[in-house]
C-alpha cells in the first residue's frame, strides 16, 4: 500500500471535480444566478483547496500497485460523491447530506435513481451539475484522472481496477498505451454527446435541456431536469433520437474507433455486438407486440414506447416516457427481465453484460453436451472467432452468480430495514446494482427513492458503487487478507 500515491490520485480526483464545478457555475450565471452560484463556487473552492495542494505535495509519488488501485477505485468514488454533494447541501435544495450523497453517487455511477420529488424547483446551475456528474461518470470518472497521471503502470492498474471484468473478456487493447486508449474513448464519448445535443436542438429542445438529456443518454444514466423525464415532451422525434443514442451508448466504444478508421469488418466479427442487436430486436419486438395486441396503444405508439422503454432499461439508462406499471403484466414481465441485461462490455453501461450471457450460454451448451450426451466432445467457447480462456469463463459465471446473490441478499436486507413489499425491495436493489434508476413498485417510474430510510439509502448507494465497479473491485476490499501486509 502506498498512501502517498493514493493521496496523489485522490488529489487529482478532487482537482478535476473542482474544475468541473466551474462549468455549472457558468451555467448558473447564464440563468442569472438563481441563488445557486455561491453554493457551487464555495464547493468548487473547498474541493480545489483540498485537491490541488495534495496533488502538488505528492506529485513525485505515482507508483501504484494493484491493491492501491482497488483502494482508489472503491474510495475515490465515495470521496468525489461526498464533495459533489456539497453544492446541494449548501444551497439547501437537498438539505440532508445522505440524500445529496445518494443523488451524486447515483449521478457518478450513471444510475439515475433520484430522491428529488420535485426536480423542476431546483435552480438550473445545480440541475446542470447533477447532469454533469453523468458526463463525468459515464466513461468512468477515474479514467478521466488517469489522463492526468504520468506514464507507467499506475494508470493501467487503476483502469483495470475500475473497469469491467467484461473488458477482460475482450481483453485486447486497441491502442498500445493505456492513456492513448482512454483519450480516444473520451473523444468518441464527447463526440456522441455533441452530435446528440445538435440533433436535440435541431428538434426544438432548449440548449440547457439538450445538454442535460444528452449527458444522461450517452452515459446511459437517466437524470432528467423534468419530473416526467422524457415523457415531459411527449415528442416522437426526441424519443427516437434518445433511443438511438442510448443504443449507441451501449455499444463497445472500441467499435466506433474501428468504424471511424473505415474497418466495418469488426461489426461482423464482434460476437457481442450481434447478440446485443439480437437481444434488442427480440425484446423490443415482444413488448411492442404485447402493447399493440392488448390495445394499449396503436402500432406506431406501441413501437415507440415499447422500444424506448426496453432500450432504456436494457442499456441501464432509466429514462421513462410512460408509466410502464400501467402496462399489461406480460409487458412488465419482459421489462423486468430486461433489467438483468446490460449492454456491451466496454460501453458506458453497467449490469450483467451481453458478453457474460454469450460466454455463459456457450459454456452451458458445451458443458451439458459433454457431461450428459457425449463425454468425448471437445468444444471450445469462441468469442470474436477466437477461443477464450477457461479463466474468463470462470469469471463470467462468477460475475453472474455474485449478481444474483447481491440481488437476493440485498432484496432481503431492503425488506427488513424498509417498510416495502418484496417486489419494490428487490427491484430497488436491481435498479441500483445494475445502475438503471427506476424500478418497479414503490421505486417505479412514477415514484422516486425519497421515501427510503437513511440506512436503505446508504445501502443502495453502496449497491450503485458495487454495480459500477462491476462487483469484484468493490468486493475485494472486504477480504481480510487484502488489508494484511
Amino acid at each position: 500500500m502506498n498512501p502517498r500515491s493514493i493521496a496523489y490520485v485522490m488529489g487529482t480526483l478532487l482537482s478535476v471535480t473542482a474544475v468541473a464545478m466551474i462549468l455549472s457555475a457558468i451555467c448558473s450565471l447564464c440563468y442569472g444566478n438563481e441563488g445557486d452560484l455561491a453554493a457551487i463556487l464555495i464547493s468548487a473552492a473547498i474541493s480545489g483547496v483540498i485537491g490541488f495542494p495534495i496533488r502538488r505535495i505528492f506529485r513525485h509519488d505515482h507508483d501504484l500497485n494493484i491493491k492501491d488501485a482497488f483502494v482508489i477505485a472503491a474510495f475515490g468514488w465515495v470521496i468525489v460523491s461526498a464533495v459533489s454533494a456539497l453544492p446541494f447541501v449548501i444551497h439547501r435544495s437537498i438539505p440532508c447530506f445522505t440524500d445529496a450523497f445518494f443523488e451524486m453517487m447515483s449521478g457518478y455511477t450513471t444510475s439515475g435513481a433520484t430522491i428529488l420529488t420535485d426536480i423542476e424547483v431546483v435552480p438550473h446551475g445545480l440541475l446542470f451539475w447533477r447532469s454533469e456528474t453523468h458526463l463525468l461518470g459515464g466513461m468512468g470518472f477515474l479514467t478521466l484522472t488517469i489522463i492526468f497521471l504520468p506514464h507507467g503502470m499506475g494508470g493501467a492498474r487503476i483502469f483495470r481496477a475500475e473497469s469491467s471484468p467484461g473488458q477482460v473478456i475482450t481483453r485486447e487493447r486497441f491502442l498500445a498505451r493505456n492513456r492513448d486508449a482512454i483519450v480516444v474513448l473520451w473523444i468518441i464519448y464527447l463526440i456522441l454527446n455533441l452530435v446528440q445535443i445538435g440533433l436535440l436542438c435541431a428538434g426544438g429542445m432548449s440548449l440547457f435541456d439538450s445538454l442535460c438529456h444528452a449527458f444522461g443518454t450517452v452515459s446511459t444514466s437517466g437524470f432528467s431536469p423534468y419530473n416526467a423525464s422524457i415523457g415531459h415532451y411527449d415528442n416522437a422525434y426526441f424519443d427516437w433520437i434518445i433511443i438511438l443514442f442510448m443504443f449507441l451508448g451501449g455499444v463497445t466504444f472500441m467499435l466506433f474507433y474501428h468504424l471511424a478508421r473505415g474497418d466495418w469488418r469488426v461489426l461482423r466479427v464482434n460476437t457481442e455486438f450481434r447478440w446485443y442487436v439480437g437481444f434488442m430486436l427480440v425484446f423490443c419486438g415482444a413488448v411492442t407486440l404485447i402493447l399493440w395486441g392488448e390495445g394499449t396503444y396503436d402500432f406506431a405508439n406501441a413501437l415507440r414506447h415499447g422500444t424506448f422503454q426496453v432500450t432504456s432499461l436494457l442499456t441501464t439508462t432509466g429514462f421513462t416516457t410512460q408509466d410502464y406499471e400501467l402496462w399489461p403484466q406480460a409487458a412488465q414481465m419482459f421489462l423486468f427481465a430486461v433489467c438483468f441485461i446490460g449492454a456491451c462490455a466496454g460501453s458506458t453501461t453497467s449490469g450483467i453484460k451481453v458478453i457474460h450471457y454469450v460466454v455463459i450460454w456457450k459454456f452451458m451448451v458445451a458443458a451439458i453436451k459433454r457431461i450428459f450426451l457425449q463425454p468425448l466432445s471437445v468444444a471450445s467457447v469462441r468469442i470474436n472467432n477466437r477461443p477464450i480462456d477457461q479463466s474468463i469463463i470462470d469469471l463470467a459465471v462468477c460475475y453472474f452468480i455474485v449478481n444474483i446473490f447481491l440481488v437476493l441478499g440485498g432484496g432481503c436486507f431492503m425488506a427488513l430495514v424498509d417498510d416495502m413489499d418484496y417486489l419494490s425491495a428487490m427491484s430497488s436493489v436491481i435498479a441500483t446494482l445494475m445502475n438503471i434508476g427506476p424500478g418497479f413498485g414503490s421505486v417505479g417510474p412514477s415514484e422516486n427513492y425519497a421515501h427510503i430510510s437513511d440506512i436503505g439509502k446508504w445501502f443502495l448507494a453502496w449497491n450503485m458503487l458495487v454495480g459500477r465497479l462491476e462487483m469484484f473491485s468493490a468486493l475485494v476490499i472486504f477480504y481480510p487478507s487484502f488489508w494484511r501486509r
Binding site: 506514464h151 507507467g152 503502470m153 485486447e172 487493447r173 498505451r177 479463466s391
Partner: protein, 463 residues
C-alpha cells in the same frame, strides 16, 4: 518532450521482451507485443502498459490485427532465430523503418558471410550470448578485478567494489566519508544491498556486505582502489563452468591470453568443444560438485566463471568456489579468487552480488540495454547499466531553460534518493558535481539513477 515517442512492435515477450517492454513503456513509448504463449501473456498483462496480442509472430493475420503502419521499430526477440530474421524481412516489406532482431547464430556477422544483416534488412543484430561473452572478456582484461565502467570519453570511471568488514569505509555515513577523504574527488553513486538498490544520500550509511559503485577520475582510480581495499592483483588463470554458447565463446576469446579450463557436463558437447577450442583444456564433469572443482585445480585459479544454463547453479557454484578457495588450509591472507556468474533472472541479480559473487552478468539485460541504447540514440549520449544493481549511468546535455539549470543542485527538487548528478563537463574539463554546483545550459552531465527514473532525469535536463 522534444523527443517523439516511438511506436514499437515487439515480437516475443519472454525474458528480453518483457524486460524491454517494461523499460520502454516506462519511457513513454507505445508498445504492441505479439506473443503466442497465452500463459506468458497472462503473466505479463497487468505488469506492463502495452498492448498484448495473442498470436503467432509469423502469421500475417496477427500483423494485420495490430496494424503495422505507423510502427517505427520492430524488435524481434522470440526464441527462434529464423522467426526473428524472417519477421525483419516482413517488417521491411510492411514499411517499418528500423528493425532489430535477436539472432543467436554467429554466422551472420562473420566476414564474407553468405547472408549479411543488410540482406536481411536487419539494422541491429542482437546476440545476447555474444554480448555476455564479450563483456566477460572485457572485464577480465581490465587490470583490477572489480568492475570498472568508462565514462566521459575515458576521463572518468565508475568502479564497483564490495565492502568487507575491515574496510575503512564500513559503518560510515556518506557525508563523513567525503569529509574524511578529501585528497581527491570521488563520489559513491549507488549501493546494492541485499536485493535492494540504493541511490545514496548524505545520511546513508555504508554497511559491510554492500556493493558500492564509486565515480572518480580515471587518474585517481589506483588511489581509490587502495582506499577501498581492492587488491590490484594480476589474473593468471580461469575456470569456466558450463560450455554453452557463452562459456565456449568466452573461452574462445580468452584462450590466447590466459590459461583457460572449461568444465562441461555433457560428454558429446565436451568432445565437440575440444575440437573447436585448441588451447582450452576441456574437462568433463559436473562443475557444481566439489570434487570435480578440486580435481580441475580450482585452488590455483584466479577467476571462476559460471555459465551453465541454470541460474541457481551459477550462483551457488560461484559462492561455493569462493568459499573453497578462502577456506583452504594455508591460504594466503587477502588472496581471493574472483567469480563471475551468469544470471538471467533479474530478481537474483543484486542477491547474487551480495552473496559473494563478484560480478553478475545478465545477458538479457545486456541485450535489452543494447536495444534501448539504439532506440535512445541522439537523446542520450550514452547509457551504461551498473552490473549487479538496478542503476543506470547516463550522459546527456542540459537544455537551455531546463529545470536543473535554474538552481544549484541542492535546491533542485525531486532528486533526493532518486537521482545523482555525478559530474559536469564545462570549460573543457570534467568536474565532480557537489551540492552547490550549478548546471548551466549546454553542460554535459553524468547522471546516475535507478532505471525507473531515467525519465525523471531526462525531464530535469530537458526544457
Amino acid at each position: 518532450m522534444p523527443n517523439k515517442n516511438a511506436n514499437i512492435l515487439l515480437l516475443g515477450i519472454g525474458g528480453v521482451g518483457f524486460y524491454l517492454a517494461k523499460r520502454l513503456s516506462h519511457e513513454g513509448h507505445a508498445i504492441t507485443a505479439i506473443e503466442s504463449d497465452p500463459d506468458l501473456i497472462r503473466r505479463v498483462d497487468g505488469e506492463v502498459d502495452a498492448r498484448l496480442v495473442w498470436g503467432d509472430a509469423m502469421s500475417f493475420s496477427a500483423w494485420e490485427d495490430v496494424g503495422v503502419e505507423g510502427m517505427d521499430y520492430l524488435i524481434a526477440v522470440t526464441n527462434n532465430d529464423a522467426v526473428n530474421i524472417l519477421s525483419s524481412l516482413l517488417a521491411d516489406r510492411s514499411g517499418i523503418p528500423r528493425k532489430i532482431a535477436r539472432v543467436r547464430s554467429l554466422d551472420l556477422l562473420k566476414q564474407g558471410a553468405l547472408l549479411t544483416a543488410d540482406d536481411l534488412k536487419i539494422d541491429l543484430i542482437i546476440r545476447p550470448e555474444e554480448l555476455a561473452a564479450k563483456e566477460i572478456a572485457r572485464l577480465l582484461k581490465i587490470r583490477a578485478g572489480n568492475v570498472v565502467i568508462d565514462l566521459a570519453d575515458g576521463r572518468m570511471q565508475v568502479m564497483a567494489t564490495r565492502i568487507r568488514e575491515d574496510s575503512v569505509l564500513a559503518h560510515n555515513k556518506l557525508k563523513d566519508v567525503s569529509q574524511q577523504y578529501n585528497e581527491f574527488y570521488f563520489r559513491i553513486v549507488s549501493i546494492a544491498r541485499g536485493i535492494n538498490t540504493i541511490i545514496p544520500w548524505g545520511d546513508d550509511e555504508i554497511l559491510p556486505g554492500d556493493h558500492i559503485y564509486v565515480l572518480a577520475y580515471t587518474k585517481d582510480m589506483p588511489r581509490l582502489m587502495e582506499l577501498t581495499g581492492v587488491p590490484q592483483g594480476r589474473r593468471h588463470s580461469l575456470i569456466i563452468i558450463g560450455g554453452g554458447l557463452v562459456g565456449s565463446r568466452v573461452a574462445e576469446l580468452l584462450e590466447g591470453s590466459f590459461p583457460v579450463k572449461l568444465i562441461e557436463q555433457n560428454v558429446q558437447r565436451a568432445e565437440e568443444l575440444s575440437y573447436q577450442l585448441d588451447k582450452t583444456e576441456i574437462l568433463h564433469g559436473n562443475g557444481s560438485h566439489v570434487d570435480t572443482l578440486l580435481k580441475a585445480g580450482l585452488l590455483d585459479v584466479d577467476v571462476i566463471i559460471t555459465a551453465t544454463g541454470d541460474n541457481e547453479t551459477n550462483i551457488m557454484t560461484s559462492v561455493l568456489a569462493k568459499h573453497l578457495i578462502q577456506d583452504r588450509p594455508g591460504s594466503v591472507q587477502g588472496r581471493e579468487a574472483r567469480t563471475i556468474a551468469l544470471v538471467d533472472r533479474e530478481e537474483y541479480l543484486a542477491l547474487a552480488a551480495t552473496m559473494g559473487s563478484d560480478v553478475v552478468l545478465n545477458k538479457k539485460v545486456l541485450a535489452g540495454n543494447e536495444i534501448i541504447k539504439y532506440i535512445r540514440r541522439g537523446k542520450l549520449l550514452s547509457v551504461a547499466q551498473l552490473y549487479g544493481c538496478d542503476t543506470e549511468v547516463v550522459e546527456l546535455v542540459a537544455d537551455a531553460g531546463a529545470p536543473i539549470t535554474r538552481k544549484p543542485l541542492y535546491d533542485v527538487g525531486g532528486m533526493k534518493e532518486k537521482i545523482i548528478i555525478g559530474a559536469v563537463y564545462r570549460n573543457g574539463a570534467w568536474e565532480i558535481a557537489v551540492g552547490d554546483t550549478h548546471v548551466q545550459s549546454g553542460d554535459k552531465v553524468i547522471g546516475i539513477c535507478k532505471s525507473l527514473h531515467v525519465r525523471d532525469l531526462q525531464a530535469l535536463l530537458l526544457s
